[in-house]
Amino acid sequence: MFIPVVNVTGQYNHLITRALIDLGMKSELVSLSVTKKNLEKMNADGLVMGGGPQRIDVEKDKLSNLSSLIKELEIPMLGICLTHQLIAIIFGGRAGPAKYPEYGPVEVFIDEEDHILKGLGKSFKAWETHNDEVLVLPRNFKILAHSEKCKVQVMAHKNKPIFGVQFHPEVVHTENGNMIFKNFIELCEK
């Protein structure tokens, strides 16, 4: 199976490909200007999108190609950090500066497992690095997890395989972070 990772130029984007490869997938970084056609040619079974240094409120124009792509695609999608916030905006929610930015270890509490958080227990320690966050959840989404300072740590579309996570499952310090990728891979298999 092939799951490319959109390189949004964040620090851990390359680590996402490593996490997927370590789980037996084929994966590589693809650029922000990747198109639906490119992905079809590569036979992408799913798409993961990384984080990046862009501020979601003032720099989202830099992500306009990715925004249209997210609307067009029908394969399972997982947005991490900045692209989690981008998904929220695309589907009618709001994102912007967090009152309390989170860096390093944060306890994340699971509200609803859905498929993506299966096997992660009631709470776990996740590693974060964000100045912005999802402020208003889009209408067709539900919250799957929160932290003390950030309401939307994980969200899922109510009837499509589209997920957003604010923390970084790809870094080794996030407890069982690879479970999230395992669960995502299962969804791509379907």
């Binding site: 620090q11 930015p101 860096y103």
Partner: protein, 388 residues
């Protein structure tokens, strides 16, 4: 990862690129450059020339140690003494990025000369994933990254660059090193930054400050533990703008504000927040309780650090005092110890206070110009592992 496949593929690739030409590699004695040297030697034999640049920012005894190790490996090896150029050119610099960029210039000038005199058309580098990721992302300039940020090495320095390990992380490099039978002292060695102690002498470099750092560094090296642990030095000069660290600390520990002393050095330190470089302030906290040094649980200090940094955006690190009797002195020593797999994220090592305070006391004994010693309680992010 499939290590055998990786080694076979890279050897083949190196052979194809270099052909019968000669290649140069700058080695530091660390796991990345050593693995890269052994791998390349496997591919092109003695057409690989290894040089060790003594920049003057090495730890005590380092050049000798590396030489004896390379003699054992039977690789063509030479030491270039460039101490004067490297140290003199740092003379009046204070800003961390200025220091790193001048170091990079000196580094490639030295390599360019060496490549010419050795007749090498290729430069092999042990660059690994975090190096180009951090440089490209503008977090900090690693000394060994050129191509990825648009510097053309052929035009500028007269050689082509080959980087066989560019997509690996430290733990994967260690696997390759093990497969290549590199001695465990090197394959498991803790990383030492390319610019060496330069990035652990925070702010302006002077000979006295560098010499003090070398002694503190040796003491920490011999007494502590972690994936990486070291000492850094910073000027004991305070800046006086307002922050809410005393209030937050007082509330956190339910201790009267007058028992808490917060110092903010003038020198800034490097961090990373939300994928952006954060060259910001360091908060130094001391607490007395019943007139003794207060040593709370490290986990609590980490939680306190979270509160301080999330409410004071101009800060990127917090460190905690570990000496009973501070005194007047020119410098402060910072002890850092972290645990990590790949150096992209890191947690603070839970070291017992006894071990930390006895190490701090040794530093106070041997370095008379040091006023105080602090232990860094900041993970990565929001701090980077090194201070600059």
């Amino acid at each position: 990862m499939d290590v055998k496949k990786f080694v076979d593929e890279q050897c083949k690739k190196i052979k194809e690129i270099v052909g019968s030409e000669k290649a140069l590699i700058a080695v530091s004695g660390g796991v990345d450059s050593t693995t890269c040297a052994v791998l390349t030697h496997k591919a092109i034999g003695d057409n690989l020339k290894c040089i060790f640049i003594d920049t003057g920012f090495m730890r005590l005894g380092e050049p000798e140690k590396v030489k004896s190790f390379y003699d054992g490996l039977n690789l063509p090896f030479k030491i270039i003494d460039a101490k004067k150029v490297f140290i003199d050119s740092q003379n009046s610099l204070v800003d961390a990025e200025d220091k790193r960029k001048v170091f990079r210039q000196n580094f490639y000038d030295t390599l360019s000369n060496a490549a010419k005199s050795e007749g090498c058309k290729f430069l092999v580098q042990g660059t690994i994933a975090p190096d180009w990721i951090e440089t490209k992302g503008g977090i900090k300039t690693q000394h060994n990254v050129l191509d990825q940020i648009g510097i053309n090495p052929v035009e500028k320095f007269g050689f082509k660059v080959i980087e066989p390990l560019a997509y690996l992380y430290k733990d994967q490099v260690r696997e390759v090193a093990k497969y290549l039978n590199i001695h465990v002292d090197v394959s498991q060695r803790q990383p030492f930054p390319g610019p060496g102690l330069l990035v652990r002498v925070v702010g302006q470099v002077t000979q006295e400050k560098l010499d003090t750092e070398k002694i503190a560094s040796k003491i920490v090296d011999e007494n502590l533990e972690g994936s990486q642990y070291f000492a850094a030095i910073i000027d004991d000069e305070e800046e006086k703008s307002k922050n809410s660290i005393v209030e937050i600390t007082s509330k956190f520990f339910k201790i009267k504000p007058r028992m808490i002393k917060v110092k903010v050095p003038k020198n800034l330190v490097t961090g990373v927040k939300g994928d952006l470089r954060a060259y910001k302030k360091l908060g130094l906290i001391s607490i007395k309780k019943d007139s003794n040094l207060f040593l709370p649980d490290l986990k609590q200090l980490e939680d306190l650090q979270v509160e301080i940094i999330s409410q004071n955006p101009e800060f990127t690190r917090v460190a905690y005092n570990i000496v009973e009797k501070p005194r007047k002195g020119k410098y402060i020593i910072l002890i850092r110890s972290i645990m990590t797999r790949d150096f992209m994220t890191a947690e603070v090592t839970r070291i017992l206070w006894d071990k930390l305070t006895s190490t701090a006391n040794k530093i106070m004994e041997e370095c008379k110009n040091v006023s105080q010693v602090y232990f860094d309680v900041t993970p990565k992010p929001p701090a980077t592992i090194e201070y600059e």
